[in-house]
Symmetry: C2
Subunit: 301 residues, 2 copies
Amino acid sequence: MRLTILGCHSATPRADKAQTSQILSTTNHHFLIDCGEGTQVLLRKAKTKFAHIKHIFISHLHGDHFYGLPGLISTFRLLGREAPLHIYGPKGIKEAITILLKLSDSWTNYPLHFHELSSKVPTLLFSDEKIQIHTIPLKHRVYTNGFLFTELSKDRKIIFDAVQKHGIDVSQINNLKKGKDATDSVGRVIPNKTLTLDPDRAKKYAFCSDTAYFPEIIKVIQGADLLYHESTFLDDNEELAIRTKHSTAKQAARIAKSAHVKQLLLGHFSSRYKNLELFGSEAAEVFPNVAIAHDGMSIDF
Amino acid sequence: MRLTILGCHSATPRADKAQTSQILSTTNHHFLIDCGEGTQVLLRKAKTKFAHIKHIFISHLHGDHFYGLPGLISTFRLLGREAPLHIYGPKGIKEAITILLKLSDSWTNYPLHFHELSSKVPTLLFSDEKIQIHTIPLKHRVYTNGFLFTELSKDRKIIFDAVQKHGIDVSQINNLKKGKDATDSVGRVIPNKTLTLDPDRAKKYAFCSDTAYFPEIIKVIQGADLLYHESTFLDDNEELAIRTKHSTAKQAARIAKSAHVKQLLLGHFSSRYKNLELFGSEAAEVFPNVAIAHDGMSIDF
């Protein structure tokens, strides 16, 4: 998986910092997660092909997480898109977008599918042969979900030299990938282990923004390879974090530690902080493998 | 008057070009005209104080002219604004903004006044002792207005040396500014012309975007000091201009010439054109005093 941060800052605008949006690229998808104002321009800057985006996940309906969506939908129309677009977000998102499209008399010429969410338990949103996506119910001032992207077990990797040496017919390759033994041309059983290697480990990405400190998510995101968790504030503003239902860097680190994730990525920083390194140092006291997001960064994991 | 172009490009997004929005600064106001996506960041870049913006004029409800408005309204709230904000735009704008605020549970803590427009004749929107603002009904795919900003006649300018020499009491200054004669300490009438100079000429700015070629506006914008007129296309796409109800550079120039404006500023360029100088050269064949807008430019007039 590759995560590309388009924007990772909180709501008040700055000339050089963008609001939340990111692209998760998997074997066969580019998922857009949140869509703050200006996302379409950030996608251009990141050289992401608009046609690659087929699924958009919106965590909640605060402006800094979805006011870029109407413009992106309109731009897809202007560029002649024909492929369907799926939008997953809180109940109400369909009404908002529909009114904007109606006012501009600009109905999309491509199918626009809304998947409106209101459940407060983890819910399967999407699955295919390679990935499953569930909600991670969060605790914020309005109804909010994070999203958990779980790759399904991957195929075993064929050792082509061994397959050739044993004269295994290509018709058996798919069975080998699934872990079955093969039979050679004279009927001998060749064990799977002789012909394949263990698959790459299936990866798991958890996106959690915005939320108060909310330990209920720990069981949902358990063992994730990468956890993006908001940390709007430092310890100095823990009271403010509680009042606005945001998290501190240290609270995010506590979640990461308890969930045994492999890496923590912090974002959604309040504009009051000039030195973002402090987020890393406060979090590292609790959970050492922590990184600070910045607009335009990519992480492969 | 000073016009600052925040963005002047048409809808499809580019990494370095912004959609329509501009600030008209007058003696005592900063009027925001249109509000494409990202306007709040452009205001930051132009170092415009958010508190200075009290009146926002939206020409029409296509996204590239108003999808920056919800974010700006939200940001004003986050920054603790208390001053009222007046928004002038087509009928429907109140419903759209209201739904977005409701979904985010973020009602403004400052008064938000919508002035919804539906008239097809020039209509007075705002006036004070220094300026009047009228709509300029345009012809586009949806209901659209331009805006005409007309300074009111200014005061005559006092010649302080002459006032002192003739021993004119300060109580007569306001009358002198309005053109009345004065009386000196021994009762002699001193003619106004002796004590004052002609006032600075009152200025007129006409904003026209987006519109098909529409000669009906000529009488409305007659004699404007500056006309901003969209020119989405060059001559090579005149047919497309007609179909999409936009203008070519030359059509904008014809309007400028017939209306005897002093200067023409072109904007809203289609992304298909790389060399924007061509807009200037095609327009100049009809109307020589033409300039090409670019994001961040300012014009004093």
